[in-house]
């Protein structure tokens, strides 16, 4: 554990360096290089802990609140999530280093800040990573909450680093409010967990799990508290605003990694601290996850801003992870641990997968922003010609997140479906039927995600440039490309050899559900993914990839050899538009691509309406399509709540101007009410 402490201390030290040496030219290199190294060390330590399977290690640090101290402990689950944080940290540091340099150079050239950085990122970047790591290591409620709040605040400060952007202040304010609300829920949840015993250590909580009623309340509060951080619908409203507002490498960390820390909080409390689960906990989690998954991807389909689209897609993926967690809980409650292990493996695999491809895609968004200066899909296009390497890496990311074989997104989904197919083993009728519906929701979300990323990739990288900036774009620097290449390579590797990583985090699964996903298989073929009970279900990404590659190459060679290999270039028929630029305008835009889906789903869900402004014949103005839609979360939850709060505030105002007698009456009434309550509760 010493290695871990050294790395964490290094992160804090780097923050100091970031403040102290902020004027010097090498500070970016030092901080990002140091952060990458520290995260690499954390990752190495986590892999060692997972491979070594030497159980949990714990430590007590004599700092913080007297008599309590800071209890730290790393078991399989913590190590697994630490690995996710470390991976995100390494790639984000690498990318961020190149990204900031590119933006500084651009600023030097033009003399103005072009929508990129303007506030300090450097000191908070390592602190944010350290905060997330501490949440994962905390072993008492107190240090957990403090680290959680530390993580929230550092990420909030990172969001604020772009405060010159006109949208940022609002996004940051909303984020702060939701973060406070979430922490409040967590605070209450841990208060209930600790109970009257007053022992804040997780070990003590584990020994004395709360009563059924309190446990139910804890589940609810945890889902609200951790869910608001993870982006659970309808508490997601801050996420599509705040995540994109930060610099791209920080967005990648917030979307790819911080949401996973929230998932960790759920896993820790629901699977570990609360003891034996009850079936409806999982049912509730699955229902919330299903709504989140489908709504998240529908939100993503409505967005025209690249980074906002990615943030919304995070909501969808969190939904999928929650569904898998819910399934695992349900199966754990019905004492079928192997299937619970299967579902939990699906959840954890999706955690890794999503952190990889979402980081990758946010880096791609950052690269696009660097190269073109815009995040608006309707101003992009044709980047595959101008940013060839980025285009290849982005294609891998888009295919992986669309759950296409042989990449990693599909493996997670495949495992999830294998768990879903075991639904008949459950005793509750409502769960059996409910899981079928949830399965349909997962499938719907996955298919819509594919549409969403065809839209993203097709509009941004393919076709013709829709603006002059997109036409002038150039490839980004090597550091940024390397930052993208690492997660892309891992996406492919995890897709073709998933068994290794599932084996790697088996200790984490075993710690939570007391079984491994491959337990009832006496013989496990090497690279074949063939989990549990169901007979003969297996998947092999390596063979699929090999076959596709081999057959494609053979086909190319055969056709070029025996049929024809002649090519002629010509101008594509642009429906009567001549020349280059009008043809670019006649392309499908992001809004028009989403139109069929908007028409099928949006009318009901978002109350979406298309308005077409068609000029008279003879008029040369272009026709305009305006899409308006309302977010149901705002329309039905937050706006009414805001109104109610305002109303309450207006009326509470009157309380300031009462006579002393009235104040005394109020206090007296409050006292009587409390006493009555005590009397009632006691009886």
């Amino acid at each position: 554990m010493t290695l871990l402490f050294v790395a964490l201390l290094a992160l804090f030290a780097l923050a100091v360096v970031g403040v102290a040496a902020r004027r010097s030219p090498w500070v970016g290199t030092a901080v990002y290089g140091g952060t990458a190294t520290a995260c690499g060390l954390i990752g190495l330590w986590a892999v060692g802990a997972l491979v070594g399977r030497d159980g949990a290690v714990a430590a007590v640090l004599p700092i913080g609140v007297p008599w309590i101290g800071v209890h730290l402990r790393a078991d399989g689950v913590s190590a697994f999530f630490l690995l996710v944080v470390a991976l995100g940290g390494v790639t984000a540091s690498l990318f961020g280093w190149g990204y900031e340099r590119a933006h500084e150079q651009a600023a030097d050239h033009s003399g103005v800040h072009s929508g990129g950085e303007s506030g300090p990122v450097l000191p908070f970047f390592p602190l944010f990573l350290a905060g997330m790591s501490l949440v994962l290591l905390a072993n008492d409620a107190f240090s957990f909450l403090v680290s959680w709040e530390f993580m929230s605040l550092t990420s909030w400060l990172l969001v604020l680093s772009t405060h010159r952007d006109p949208d940022t202040p609002d996004a940051a304010r909303l984020y702060l409010m939701m973060a406070v609300l979430g922490t409040l829920c967590l605070l209450l949840a841990f208060g209930l967990l600790v109970g009257t015993g007053g022992d804040y250590r997780f070990d003590a909580i584990r020994q004395h799990p709360p009563e059924a009623g309190a446990a139910a309340l804890v589940v609810l509060l945890m889902v609200l508290g951790a869910g608001s951080k993870a982006g659970l619908v309808p508490l997601h409203v801050w996420l599509p605003l705040a995540h994109p507002a930060a610099p791209s490498h920080v967005s990648a960390l917030m979307s790819g990694v911080m949401t996973k820390v929230a998932v960790y909080a759920l896993v820790r409390v629901l699977f570990d601290l609360l003891g034996e689960p009850v079936w409806w906990w999982g049912g509730a989690l699955m229902a919330a996850g299903a709504v989140t998954a489908v709504m998240g991807v529908l939100y993503a389909l409505m967005q025209d801003d690249v980074k906002r689209l990615l943030a919304c897609s995070t909501i969808e993926n969190i939904g999928v992870i929650l569904i898998a967690l819910g399934l695992a809980l349900v199966f754990k409650a019905s004492h079928t641990p192997v299937i619970a292990a299967l579902a939990l493996s699906a959840a954890l695999l999706h955690v890794v997968n999503h952190s990889l491809f979402k980081s990758l895609l946010f880096f791609v968004a950052g690269a696009i922003l660097t190269a073109t200066g815009t995040r608006d899909l309707n101003r992009l296009g044709g980047l595959i010609h101008r940013m060839p390497t980025t285009a290849v890496l982005a294609l891998i990311g888009a295919a992986a997140i669309s759950a296409l074989p042989p990449l990693n997104g599909f493996v997670g989904e495949w495992l999830l479906f294998q768990a879903i197919l075991n639904a008949p083993a459950l005793p509750e009728w409502s769960l059996k039927i409910g899981i079928a519906v949830v399965g349909a929701a997962v499938a719907l979300a996955a298919a819509l995600a594919a549409a969403c990323f065809v839209r993203l990739y097709g509009i941004a990288f393919l076709g013709r440039p829709r603006s002059a900036e997109a036409g002038r774009a150039g490839e980004v620097g090597r550091a940024m490309l390397a930052g993208m290449a690492i997660p892309a390579a891992l996406c492919v590797a995890l897709g073709v050899l998933p068994t290794f990583v599932i084996r790697l985090f088996e200790p984490a699964v075993r710690a939570m559900v007391q079984a491994g996903p491959f337990d009832d298989r006496s013989y496990q073929p090497w690279i074949w993914l063939a989990p549990t009970s169901a007979i003969g279900n297996s998947y092999n990404g390596l063979i699929l990839l090999g076959m596709i590659a081999a057959l494609s190459v053979a086909l190319v060679l055969a056709i070029h050899r025996w049929a024809s290999d002649r090519v002629r270039r010509s101008i594509a028929w642009g429906c009567g538009h001549d020349g280059d630029d009008p043809a670019a305008l006649s392309q499908y835009s992001a809004s028009s691509f989403a139109q069929p889906i908007r028409r099928a789903f949006g009318g009901t869900v978002f109350n979406a309406r298309d308005r077409v402004e068609m000029p008279e014949p003879g008029d040369t103005r272009p026709a305009r399509l305006t899409v308006c839609w309302t977010d149901p979360a705002w329309a039905f939850l937050f706006t009414p709540v805001r109104r109610a709060v305002n109303w309450l505030a207006d009326h509470a105002d009157a309380l300031q101007f009462l006579t002393i007698r009235s104040y005394l009456t109020l206090m007296f009434a409050a006292l009587v009410v409390v006493l009555t309550l005590v009397a009632v509760v006691r009886s």
């Binding site: 009728w429 099928a600 009901t604």
Partner: protein, 220 residues
């Protein structure tokens, strides 16, 4: 393992439910009537099969009644009404087709969830028939509230009644009297509906219930 008696009853019952969904999906009045005819045929088939398989001859009467009334008389009469009244031949949904279908599936799920736990001890056929018929009844109600045209509301009402007969067929031992009285009351209801349709049409020149609503006595 294969029990053809059960399997056939199972499929016929499901066919009745499927036609209920098809009723919700239709946009044209004539195809609505055709689907309704199919539903009646399936229902009478279910009754006849049950009569044959379980040797309950009185169910043949049910089958015959359903066949003559529901599959022949009522559709023919409704066809003539539509032609005589020159009703617009498209169904105007008050709720989008997609939403209606989603609501329909939720209703079926609800009825299955209701029926399954309380019939743990019953035979598979009984509980299935109960679940199916409850679904058909609920779908009929859904049809009545989600369609604006009076003719489709009549069809919805008839399909509710089909659901009741399906329950009567499936649950062994339902006396014939009950079915006779149901059939009779439906007949009466149908006649009343028919008269109403004519009357409404004469007065207001439309069968769109929306337009008639403003003529309610209490409002001005």
């Amino acid at each position: 393992m294969i029990d053809i008696g059960y399997d056939a009853a199972h499929l016929l019952g499901a066919l009745v439910l499927m036609t209920s969904f098809a009723l919700l999906y239709q946009r044209r009045l004539f195809s609505l009537l055709n689907v309704f005819t199919i539903q009646a045929l399936a229902l009478s088939g279910a009754a006849a099969w049950q009569a044959y398989a379980h040797d309950e001859p009185h169910l043949y009467i049910t089958a015959l009644l359903t066949l003559t009334l529901k599959a022949i008389a009522i559709p023919v009469a409704l066809h003539r009404i539509i032609q005589r009244l020159h009703i617009e031949r498209t169904v105007e949904p008050a709720l989008g087709i997609g939403l209606t279908m989603v609501a329909g599936v939720s209703l079926v799920t609800l009825s299955i969830l209701l029926v399954l736990p309380v019939t743990e001890n019953a035979t598979a056929l009984t509980r299935e028939d109960l679940a199916l018929s409850l679904s058909v009844v609920l779908l009929g109600l859904l049809m009545m509230i989600s369609r604006r045209n009076a003719v489709s509301q009549v069809v919805g009402f008839m399909s509710i009644e089909n659901g009741l007969i399906l329950a009567a067929v499936g649950v062994a031992g339902m006396p014939l009297v009950v079915e006779m009285s149901i059939a009779f009351s439906v007949m009466v209801a149908f006649i009343i509906f028919g008269i109403f349709l004519f009357q409404i049409r004469e007065r207001f020149e439309t069968l769109d219930v929306r337009k008639i609503e403003s003529f309610r006595g209490e409002s001005d």
